[in-house]
């Protein structure tokens, strides 16, 4: 038996080679028939952040797998964990992830490090005619994903502006006019409190994390204040003092007592449970608040834009995209996935399933089914073009050190909301710390 072993092994090897050869031939024939099947058998690793952007992938990724034969393994984390995983994977150059979610505020950091693959050649040479939506996305929404070389490094999946979301029923009950300015918001909060309303007049983000920086910085822009003016730190200015004075007063006097540790999750929970009358945040939230499955105030909300004393719109700029890791070994398959995720097909599924109603591809708003589906929240969807047009990126500190700058600023605002510092003290400390970060750069 032992003497026959080499012969048996050789025969088995030959048979295996024959089978593999036949399999490959079959696969090639199949591939040539359908270009979407070109990467069948590939496994894509996708790194995502929690939120409605990831929800669509969870719900509909089976369609992509069926259409392409590509297996998708996704991981969903909170934003800091997701960023850590991408950074650690990129610095070790292992290519553990093929596709990564990219929040616009981290793009300068990722681009400086060179961790994302430019998409221009894929767009020019490897576009899927039915799935590709890049030519329909407004240039302004693509801008945060472009490098200084003019190349595009990610495709946006979502984009938000800043809106005030308010309870129509409460405002009608107390005969309070819908706020149009930041001053109106303060006046409305004061009136509601004086009238003894049984909910918090206002709720927003006040915790010390960088994810809450967008609220305070966006509110400040309505007053003409911003954190950085080029390389100059402009935190300790009269405009910022005015803006943060109003903002801290709003949260401290009219928000929940634990407002200084409330992030987006608790804020959203409070509003959805009908415990707050107003909420200033990104325009992605009305979709969530209007979803009857998760919100007890779904048919009671109104949405409006706010202007401040500086004559500018209050901002909550946010955008999330998908990019290809520079170290991915499946870049073309990853590109196919990104095209599918940003396609009109998936967008239709998203609004049909009630996942969200705000999109970066304006074609969605012209789809008859979209108009039918969003009739009940037309008050919001009809404002979307105006909301996106109000986005003004000039106030945002688009630098690789964003995380440090945002935390240095926001922790001080959080402390002021908690009452452990005055606004002036908080801004003076933040000015000093951000100057150090910028100088160190």
């Amino acid at each position: 038996m032992l003497r026959k072993l080499p012969a048996i092994l050789i025969t088995l090897l030959a048979l295996t080679a024959l089978l593999v050869g036949c399999g490959e031939k079959g696969k090639t024939q199949e591939n040539s028939a359908d270009p979407r099947k070109a990467f069948a058998g590939t496994t894509l690793k996708v790194l995502l952040k929690t939120g409605y952007e990831a929800e669509a992938i969870k719900q509909f990724v089976g369609d992509f797998e069926q259409a392409t034969g590509i297996k998708v393994e996704y991981e969903i984390y909170d934003e800091p964990t997701m960023r850590n995983k991408f950074i650690l994977d990129s610095t070790s150059q292992t290519g553990a992830y093929d596709v990564v979610a990219t929040q616009f505020w981290y793009m300068p950091e990722y681009l400086r490090a060179g961790w994302l693959e430019p998409l221009d050649s894929y767009i020019a040479e490897k576009s899927d005619a039915a799935w590709s939506s890049v030519r329909h996305i407004p240039q302004g929404l693509l801008a945060p994903y472009k490098g200084s070389d003019g190349k595009l490094y990610a495709l946006p999946v979502s984009a938000s502006g800043g809106v005030l979301i308010y309870r129509k029923d409460i405002f009608e009950q107390y005969k309070i006019p819908v706020p149009q300015t930041t001053e109106d918001v303060l006046a409305a909060a004061k009136s509601l409190k004086a009238a003894g309303v049984n909910v918090y007049p206002f709720v927003g983000r006040g915790d010390p994390s960088s994810a809450s920086f967008g609220t305070s910085a966006g509110w400040a822009w309505a007053y003409g204040a911003k954190v950085l003016d080029g390389e100059r730190v402009t935190i300790n200015t009269p405009e910022m003092k005015h803006a943060m004075g109003d903002f801290v007063q709003l949260l401290r006097q009219y928000g929940p007592p634990n407002q200084a540790v409330i992030g987006w999750d608790v804020m959203s929970e409070l509003f959805r449970q009908g415990k707050a009358a107003m909420n200033f945040d990104m325009s992605g939230f009305p979709s969530v608040y209007a979803n009857k499955e998760v919100s007890s105030v779904a048919d009671k909300i109104g949405v409006t834009l706010l202007k401040g004393p500086g004559g500018k719109y209050a901002q909550w700029m946010y955008s999330e995209g998908l990019g290809i890791s520079r170290y991915s070994k499946n870049k073309e398959a990853a590109w196919l996935f990104i095209q599918w995720r940003t396609s009109l097909d998936v967008a239709k599924k998203e609004f049909e399933a009630g996942v969200r109603y705000d999109f970066v591809d304006p074609r969605v708003y012209e789809v008859p089914e979209y108009k039918e589906k969003t009739k009940s929240i037309e008050f919001f969807t009809s404002q979307l073009p105006e909301i996106l047009a109000s986005v003004d990126a000039t106030y945002w500190p688009a630098i690789p050190e964003f995380e440090q700058v945002a935390q240095a600023f926001q922790k001080e605002i959080s402390a002021a909301i908690a009452g452990s510092k005055t606004v002036d003290q908080a801004l003076a400390i933040a000015q000093n710390e951000v100057e150090k970060i910028i100088t160190k750069k």
Partner: protein
């Protein structure tokens, strides 16, 4: 023969020595080298530049660091102090009252074996001002709601309470084992001599239990200084930096800002700080037979 045995011993020790060198010595040396560099993971083009003691000098002028150290010390002193006192009391009770002792021992193990992340998240929900069960109970009792996590004057106490809740059982179990190992004769002699319970406790039980108390204190001290999940998951160091301790700050520098040079300097500093504190405690008190034996 002796030489052969010596060679065999060295050979047998080699795997352990290699593991120690690879997992203990090398990372420490590497961390020291990184602490002497300017090295940001998110800026690979800048590389790793030798800057000497610049990171250590930055530590001296970093008010956020010193505030975090003060908070960490405060956390440690209160948490360890209260858990030792409470642990001693509970251990004496369990030792005296034999009723359902097995059951209570199992109950005491539960907080210790629960992952700190699970404990912290549960307490975060229980402390919640609007939805938390503690405030619901206060409401039912017609008492005002209380802001456990958003009030800078209270937030550290809320975190300390969680730490005490989770780790007092460890002290109980260590001291209970100590009490059960004590010889009976001194107690019998004291009773015959007419000593009262207070005198027996102060002059016999406590001195004989000293080593067990110190072992529990050293373990708790090191744990309390290393606290991370409890605070990170409940307040993320907020409001502002009101609950930011040393470990939270180090994690922020290393894994949010990716400033590996400064983070390593902070890590080395913490290593020496904990070693110094543990050494002082052990040396001064003579536990583990370093003094007085």
């Amino acid at each position: 023969m002796a030489a052969t045995n010596k060679k065999l011993l060295l050979l047998l020790m080699l795997p352990a020595a290699l593991v120690f060198l690879g997992l203990g010595v090398y990372p420490t040396v590497e961390a020291i080298l990184i602490s002497l560099s300017k090295y940001e993971l998110t800026n690979p083009a800048a590389g790793r530049l030798f800057v000497g003691l610049a990171n250590y000098k930055s530590m001296l002028a970093d008010p956020r660091l010193w505030a975090a150290i003060v908070r960490a010390m405060w956390f440690m002193v209160v948490s360890v102090g209260v858990s030792l006192a409470l642990g001693l009391l509970l251990a004496l009770l369990l030792y005296r009252v034999r009723w359902c002792q097995g059951f209570f021992r199992i109950v005491f193990i539960v907080p210790m074996v629960t992952a700190p992340a699970v404990v912290s998240l549960n307490f975060k929900f229980m402390y919640n001002y609007d939805f938390g069960i503690i405030n619901r109970i206060l409401e039912v009792l017609h008492l005002p709601r209380f802001d456990f996590l958003g009030n800078p004057a209270v937030t550290m106490w809320s975190a300390i309470f969680v730490d005490i809740w989770q780790w007092t059982p460890l002290v109980v179990l260590v001291l209970l084992a100590g009490l059960e190992s004590l010889p009976k004769e001194p107690f019998e002699a004291a009773l015959i001599d007419g000593a009262n319970p207070r005198q027996i406790f102060l002059h016999i039980t406590l001195p004989m239990l000293k080593k067990f108390v110190l072992v529990a204190a050293v373990i708790r001290m090191m744990d309390a200084l290393k606290v991370y999940e409890t605070i990170q998951l409940m307040t993320a160091g907020g409001p502002g930096t009101a609950s930011e301790t040393l470990n939270l700050y180090i994690a922020r520098v290393g894994f949010t800002w990716f400033d590996m040079g400064y983070c390593s300097a902070l890590g080395i500093f913490t290593l020496y700080l904990i070693t110094l504190l543990a050494w002082l405690l052990v040396r001064r008190t003579g536990v583990f037979g370093t003094k007085g034996d």
